[in-house]
Homo-oligomer: 225 residues x 2
Amino acid sequence: MTVGIVKQELWDERARAEAAASAPPARRRDGRQRLLEGALALLAERGYAAMELRDVALRGDAPRGSIYHHFPGGKSQLAAEAAALEGERVRAHIERSLAERGLRETLLLFGGIFRRRAADHPDRIGCPVAAAALARPEDPALAAAATAAFRSWEESIVTALRGEGVPARQAGPFAALVISTIEGALVRARAAGDHAPLDDAVAGLAQALDALLAGTRARRARRSA
Amino acid sequence: MTVGIVKQELWDERARAEAAASAPPARRRDGRQRLLEGALALLAERGYAAMELRDVALRGDAPRGSIYHHFPGGKSQLAAEAAALEGERVRAHIERSLAERGLRETLLLFGGIFRRRAADHPDRIGCPVAAAALARPEDPALAAAATAAFRSWEESIVTALRGEGVPARQAGPFAALVISTIEGALVRARAAGDHAPLDDAVAGLAQALDALLAGTRARRARRSA
């Protein structure tokens, strides 16, 4: 479960670079932000049901007593805001990577990031947004935050595919394929405690993208011939 | 999370047909089997952490006192055997469907089954094998049962692709893509409480398969030309 974490890491790298460029750096994050970071880590590692508020405070290096001050709705509100934050970070990251590297390199990049992440924490690979997804039916608002995040990632990929000349009727299903594949591969990587399922899934996606683009080029060539 | 459930339903249909053909039918399943069925349902719906043994007994219509008689290792053993059972059912089902309908129809069939399943229980879509996958690192044996199940499904699909002339270097990544996509789409369907993410993922897979097979045919045609 973690397009999330991947992109979290992408985001972390960007955030570190930006923090280094402006002073004072990371310490400035306020208590609210630290609680959100703690919630994201625990959602990815343990899922929503097992996310304990005392651990969120510990992980986020924030006073536990501040949780209800920042999040009067408690665990449910904290998780929903964390999922929305992750959704937005990942979306921004996909957009940036698409603009800088294009679609194929963006897919391959995820493979490399997962590989590093799995090397560091092989047993804890997970996606906070997928964790939010599984909170349905108990917490529909939290699940809705997950769906909104998935859709926003999909839309970025649809836009990139359309830019490559892929017709809308093919761009939608392919974008759905990308997001579902990464989320499913994260479940498998968690089970395996290893990045191999992610590498395989990314290779499968790259191959499918090549075939899709080859079909698009062939149709164009026929049309202009 | 549920290639599992899909194929569970496929399996249920087959089991009902077989039960109807031989008397006496379903009632014959013994207590052990009923506990496994209860565990499968709860794993899919709630995940491993929230799977309570008293609810397993209730769901399976089995005496709670019999759990440790049948499964001396308790919850962990029960879940691992349930995941292995589901893995084998799904594998057998994929094999049967591949033999009877071929690869493309097998992919589309899953879409139709999910659609029915989601209509019945939109809030409870889930895969017991994915639930087992997420039990790592707490229960590595359970996660290993999930990995074995995922691999066995993948192998069936690799064999079918090889039969269509797809080279090994492409068949492996594509099979990985299929399994990860379905698992990821089930996470998304759970979040949405709706089958649409599954339909989209299946459409994306069918499109990717068409492109893969078209490439295979084109290479063959060039070679024999």
